[in-house]
């Protein structure tokens, strides 16, 4: 066999081996597995309603590896409010929203947004959509009534996240249920300006019926053992950060004197 023929023969053999190996390499792709990674995600730690407003605390869960959180934003779908997220811990973020009247009607809110940070030194963003329960309630009730010497002391208890103004009392009436008779009634309004700060607290409204011209007073004191009912229609203004909302509220209390 001449060297040239040997050369041609060996070249063909080597080329065929290379082709078979290249084809075999593609078959080896079955040994490639997609890598799995525990992905960190954002969840609500809690939502609180206080005088400062609605505070949403978010926490990063499954934060394995070298993750740092730098900030981001979160918006509330129901109200359209958006706020920057501030870091309050290595994996905890917080956003504050001023209270709006809509919150009173809501039991859950949808929060969506983006948390930015770094993952092993490189930029990272975690988007999220969360549903969180909230409870914004304004409660006002009469917890005690005292009446003597024609002076009425009403202890009003309240629990509110927003300031409330009690503007006026209209047609206040105290009825002796035992005798089915009025103790007093007032026709018309008594202007008032009681400011209630946010929180859970009490305030006392004192009305001297002797000085009110439209009052019809039948008795200046209560009889022990009788059941009385106080009707207290009031006009209140809820002072939200962006808007003032005035509404009429009828408070009443049934009580027995002398226990």
């Amino acid at each position: 066999m001449t060297p040239f023929k040997t050369f041609i023969l060996l070249s063909i053999i080597l080329t065929l081996i290379a082709l078979i190996i290249t084809y075999g390499a593609v078959k080896f792709t079955s040994s490639i597995h997609p890598a799995t990674m525990i992905t960190p995600y954002v969840d609500v730690e809690n939502t609180t309603v206080s005088g400062e407003g609605l505070i949403v605390k978010l926490v990063i869960i499954n934060a394995t590896g070298n993750i740092t959180i730098t900030g981001g934003y979160a918006s509330i779908l129901e109200t359209g409010q958006s706020a920057q997220l501030s870091t309050i811990g290595p994996l905890t973020l917080e956003a504050k929203y001023p209270l709006l009247p809509q919150y009173v009607n809501l039991s859950t809110i949808g929060i969506k947004g983006l948390v930015s940070g770094t993952f092993y030194g490189d930029p990272m963003y975690i988007g999220f959509f969360l549903v969180a329960p909230i409870s914004v309630r304004i409660n006002t009730w009469i917890s005690n009534v005292e009446y003597s010497d024609c002076i009425l002391n009403i202890l009003i208890s309240y629990s509110t996240p927003v300031p409330i103004m009690i503007n006026e009392i209209s047609n206040i009436t105290l009825v002796d249920d035992t005798q089915s008779s009025y103790v007093f009634y007032v026709i018309g309004n008594i202007p008032l300006s009681t400011y209630i700060t946010p929180g859970i607290n009490n305030t006392v409204i004192t009305i001297n019926l002797g000085t009110i011209p439209n009052a019809r007073v039948f008795s200046c004191s209560l009889v022990n053992g009788h059941t009385y009912t106080l009707y207290l229609p009031v006009s209140v203004t809820y002072v939200y950060p962006t808007i003032n909302m005035t509404s009429q509220l009828t408070l009443y209390r049934v009580f027995i004197t002398g226990g």
Binding site: T6, A25, I32, D43, D122, I126
Partner: protein, 266 residues
């Protein structure tokens, strides 16, 4: 064996060793690396190591070694050098298929969008790729192999010494008789040694201190000062150098030279 072919083999071996020490190609980012080793891809992801064995890569390594060994094993034709270059180009093809494989099955874009329980996660991880030292050695190997194929492994201009030159050099260290004996071995002339004299047919090559062997017509004797040639009737005095040349040429006539030396990669 020609020096050029040995240089080719040495560079091939350096390439093979260096590839085991350093990756030929490398992709690096903060959380993910890919390294092309002779046995396949070494992949690290978030501290987890994974090794993907690649037949192409292993075959490329074997082809490079084969390419350098072909001219060593097959010396009598220039086609061995051509086959060596062809095999090396196949090795490069195989390395290119490794890169095609990487871009198809191990593609890494530098960012990821992952779904999470409450949304998604987007990470952007810039990466850099670079070629390692073995690639540059491989480029050098391609150049040397190509030059070998084109010049038939005759690009080093420093030629080897001829047999005469080597013999003349050896006279100083080993004496004239031993030097001639080794030259005769290489040329392939049969001789016999009697009393430290080389006998070739009816001719004897002796040193001066040994006696003149019997039954020879001609004898060549190296003395302390020079060289004496006795052709049966007359004596000629020559220098040692002339004596060596005469002794070898006479031996070629008197002796029976073996097969003529084949030229390498002719």
């Amino acid at each position: 064996m020609r020096l050029e072919v040995i240089i080719q083999l040495i560079i091939a071996l350096i390439f093979v060793i260096s590839w085991f020490l350093a990756p030929l190609w490398c992709l690096r980012s903060n959380i993910y690396t890919q390294e092309l080793t002779p046995l396949g891809f070494s992949i690290t992801f978030l501290g987890h190591k994974y090794f993907l064995i690649l037949p192409n890569s292993i075959a490329a390594l074997i082809y490079v070694i084969t390419s350098a060994l072909i001219p060593i094993a097959w010396r009598n034709s220039r086609y061995s050098l051509y086959l060596s270059l062809f095999t090396l180009s196949l090795a490069i093809m195989l390395i290119i298929t490794v890169f095609i494989f990487q871009s198809r099955y191990l593609f890494y874009g530098g960012y990821s969008v992952l779904s999470t329980e409450t949304g998604y996660m987007y990470i952007r991880i810039p990466y850099t790729t670079y070629f390692g030292i073995p690639l540059y050695i491989l480029v050098f190997l391609i150049i040397v192999t190509s030059v070998n194929a084109v010049t038939r492994a005759r690009w080093i201009t420093v030629r080897r010494m001829t047999i005469i030159e080597e013999t003349l050099l050896m006279v100083r260290s080993e004496g004239p008789i031993n030097a001639i004996r080794k030259a005769l071995d290489r040329i392939g002339i049969q001789y016999s040694i009697i009393n430290n004299a080389l006998i070739i047919g009816d001719m004897a090559i002796t040193a001066s201190n040994t006696g003149r062997p019997e039954g020879v017509k001609e004898y060549l004797s190296f003395t302390d000062k020079g060289f004496i040639y006795f052709d049966g009737s007359s004596i000629t005095e020559l220098s040692t150098e002339q004596g060596i040349i005469l002794a070898i040429s006479k031996a070629l006539i008197k002796g029976k030279p073996g097969k003529p030396l084949a030229g390498e990669y002719a």
